[in-house]
Homo-oligomer: 207 residues x 2
Amino acid sequence: MKRLEELSNQKRSYATGDYLYRSGDRFKSLHAIRSGSFKTRVLHEDGREQVTGFLMAGEIIGLEAISTDVHTCEALAMEDSEVCELPYAKLAELSREIPSLQRHLYKIMSREIVRDQGIMLLLGSMRAEERLAAFLLNLSQRNATHGMSATQLRLRMSRLEIGSYLGLKLETVSRAFSHFQDEGLIQVKARAVDIVALSRLREMVGK
Amino acid sequence: MKRLEELSNQKRSYATGDYLYRSGDRFKSLHAIRSGSFKTRVLHEDGREQVTGFLMAGEIIGLEAISTDVHTCEALAMEDSEVCELPYAKLAELSREIPSLQRHLYKIMSREIVRDQGIMLLLGSMRAEERLAAFLLNLSQRNATHGMSATQLRLRMSRLEIGSYLGLKLETVSRAFSHFQDEGLIQVKARAVDIVALSRLREMVGK
DNA sequence: GGGCTATTTTGACATATATCAAGTCAAACG
DNA sequence: CGTTTGACTTGATATATGTCAAAATAGCCC
């Protein structure tokens, strides 16, 4: 871990809306988010876009680019954020000397695959409100992991971005929020969401 | 590569419908498909399932399990198939000695992430016929990669399985096939598909 | 080859979500 | 403060896809 810290000499700041990288950029480094949050999205020639992830502190961003040395999606800051740059060449080299680092890297990449497959399940076989419930539960859990409240969420993203992530239109997202509130599942005030009935939300997604 | 071959002493056969692994199985090995094909799917408590991939010869299966040492999805043979077992512990060890193997492993995992994000784009922002077009083009390209025809496809999966993969009902898939045929894009005869207008299919998905 | 079963196609209809269009609200700014 | 601007909510309606049901077809076993 210490040797890893030495590696990441670079710590950089990004303001809301700044790009960490764009589609087509040459890949040089992974980035560890120190504070703040980013969204990643893939673009389609015809202008369509799909948000593929919302990343928070502690998470690693850029793994998709290893395959071709070129970024296939773009990442931008959703708030003022800081990242550590992890030069990939050095990281790979170091992982050869430090087995635990190597194991860790494989696991991180595998975890990303699992995460993506979970989203595929969501997009492929859940209905609008189930998707939103799953989304809120995921945020709740990650919030808790970071020592924050599991029930008081401050969303960093707009309804439009949530919609893109969940494969829904922003109006549908908004309606689902309103409906959840009517049902007493959550309290919504713009981007401040208070989960009132966590267990009932869990039932909605079948767990 | 030679050392890799020594590693995979085990070569095993699977009949149609056999499980390569199930959800919950302890993870020990990756598998390289030698011949045949497999599908992977994730299951939801309530019985819903989502097909997450159709894998062919030359592809590596099981990467998602590295993250937790437990398989989070299941894989089964769509036809009589053969795989090489690649014990993960040995593979990881070997990758420390052989830099090119390590690079290759990272790339394979990254490629899987890119693939999954492509499916997320498809599921989140494409309509039924665009999804099917993208699916056929993907099969076509992989077929070609394996030295087979880019236009004559023999589907190994049912309409139901295609539907699950594309987030559609089987009837919708069937109708899309019929419509493509009416439009002169393809010739369909059950699971034999002949792509007549590859370029027009490409236009449909915007490239 | 004939019958059996699973798969696929097709049709009529239902519905979840998208689309279009106002309206509300809140933060930002002069 | 009043105005502007972008984000969000809500309503009315349209539409893509799902659902249900039946017929056609293909694959399979004896």
